[in-house]
Chain length 342, copies 2
């Protein structure tokens, strides 16, 4: 910048004003400075700028998601990015892998680099370490799950209602032995969906069967194995409710492997690619991960603009998409009409 000032024969202050478009500068000086910038190939140093400016804004935010390569979180990411982009703000991104220590490392590394705000998919565990950053003025929004031991704006899907709907769909097809396959019970979405599943069972006066509830499934492979185990057991389920995209995929693989994809009903939480093309089509309760990301981004920038109201919670509805797998009837089921006549 010094060289630009020298070349344009103006002061540093003037160069700064031209670059930031702040204050009134005589058009001729603006031109001289702009020419000097082009001539010298000057690159502004945003780091130094952030350090000195009164608002300390870095025009960057941090995003912490479970895994950038999971399609669900990748869509959340895009939602956040698109909002940040219109504000000309850059995004740091990191995968926490549902590891509390990793989440914290990322958050602290982002904070050390002066991000203006943080969008985080909080792990199980404790987010109170963020209190300090919140108080020091970093905007904070949680997405997909609420934070623990800390208050902050939150955007989630309507997990419980969605899970209830999916389970009801299976019940409506005549099932009573419905397995639940879910993520670790420490994960908010997993327990909410389990609760929704319980809601639907209770509403239909179906007794819960603990052996049909399999939690702790973190990816496709364990879900595939759990499905095989469930179906090989003494009193196997006639329907599966899978609580997450990767688990749904694992269950599909297992059903194929056993050749039972047309016999065992399946409803999944979260849509999957080609879910309509597989045979039978996969019935799901779809979330809108892109919308989750956008809402989170918008809440964040609202805070950055200085809004100081109490933390809000946005709940994004889900949508049932019946494609066949969830409408498979149990073996030996009485026809629907016969049942309803009783």
């Amino acid at each position: 910048m010094r060289e630009v000032a020298r070349a344009a024969e103006v002061s540093l202050a003037t160069v700064s004003r031209v670059i930031n478009g702040s204050g009134e500068v005589h058009p001729e000086l603006v031109k001289r400075v702009s020419d000097a910038i082009d001539l010298l190939g000057y690159r502004h140093n945003a780091t130094a700028s952030t350090l000195r400016r009164s608002d300390r804004q870095s025009a960057s935010i941090g995003l912490i998601i479970e895994d950038v390569s999971n399609p669900f979180f990748a869509a959340v990411h895009r939602g956040v990015e698109d909002v940040a982009r219109v504000h000309r703000v850059l995004t740091f991104v990191g995968s926490s892998d549902e590891d509390e220590a990793r989440e914290r490392e990322l958050a602290e590394a982002f904070a050390a680099r002066g991000v203006d705000g943080l969008v985080v998919v909080p792990c199980a565990g404790d987010q109170s370490y963020l209190l300090r950053d919140q108080q020091s003025g970093i905007a904070l929004v949680f997405v997909d799950r609420p934070p623990h031991f800390l208050r902050g704006d939150t955007v989630t899907s309507d997990n419980r209602a969605g899970a209830r709907t999916a389970t009801q769909q299976l019940i409506a097809a005549g099932h009573r032995r419905i397995a639940f396959l879910g993520d670790r019970p420490t994960v908010f979405t997993a327990t909410e969906r389990l609760a929704g599943y319980h809601d639907a069972l209770a509403a239909a006066a179906i007794q819960r069967t603990p052996t049909l509830e399999r939690l702790g499934l973190t990816s496709s492979e364990p879900a595939r194995q759990a499905t095989i185990e469930l179906l090989s057991g003494p009193t196997p389920p006639t329907a599966l409710f899978t609580g997450q995209n990767l688990i749904t995929i694992g269950a599909i693989l297992a059903l194929r492997e056993l050749g039972r994809q047309r016999v065992i009903a399946l409803a999944g939480f979260d849509d999957i690619v080609l879910g309509e093309i597989v045979e039978p089509g996969i019935t799901v309760v779809a979330q809108d991960p892109y919308a989750l990301g956008r809402h989170a981004g918008e809440l964040l920038f609202r805070r950055l603009r200085g809004e100081a109201s109490d933390p809000t919670t946005v709940v994004v509805p889900t949508r049932l998409i019946a494609r066949g797998s969830g409408e498979i009837r149990p073996p030996h089921a009485q026809p629907a009409r016969a049942r309803s006549r009783r």
Copy 2:
């Protein structure tokens, strides 16, 4: 930091040394400083640190990909992130949407924030604007496609050989009217794959048919439409080679819609989720996007460590996965034995 120094009754220099683990500091002072840091809840300011330190390293890199929510690029992203992570380096990420201006904006914004290096999936167009940054010491690696008008380390898949293999698979099944559906011809991977397709046709002495070559398809929906058009034409193809994951999905949707998924052969470039589960299974030439990302990350950190050799190119092989769709024979085809006897 001033407050930490005061609380620990040492100088700023000593606090800095303790934080950075540089130089020898008396254990007792280390303890006093550490205690003060904990007590005060001190957060290090990496921005100020970068500005002052002699090597100017920010422990951050920038990643520019076409779209963070495309599963292919999301996997590349994860590969880069995993390498950065072991170096305790953070990643800025942005989607260029295959827009040259957007790519440049992102690169310049990253550079202004002092990234140590940049991993970029270069758009069609001109990357020479990066020369300035390269000369100023920012490490540069290109992934998925080589840069234009600039030299730099590059990691790509073996697009041409992979496309040749996929096309050969269709030829081996007896097809001679094979359509090619690809991305914009300005995109390196699209033209390489087209070239590989041409290679295979030439090797089998099959005349090219311009009307069977559809380029400019940027996502699933245009690919779906193009497939329908091709198959509704006067002399439709008996097989399709789709040059990219989203295009493959579009073609699958179209074939279903027409009910011809068991009649028209299909081979795709890049694997897709559930490709083995759809019926028929989708034959693909699989890339390893995670490996592309890892290689790119490793090349970048090699440069950051100061390696000054000429730019390298890493070519990652592809792998044919025959699952059925690519092995469908053309209608009225003579049995394979009969053909080979001639």
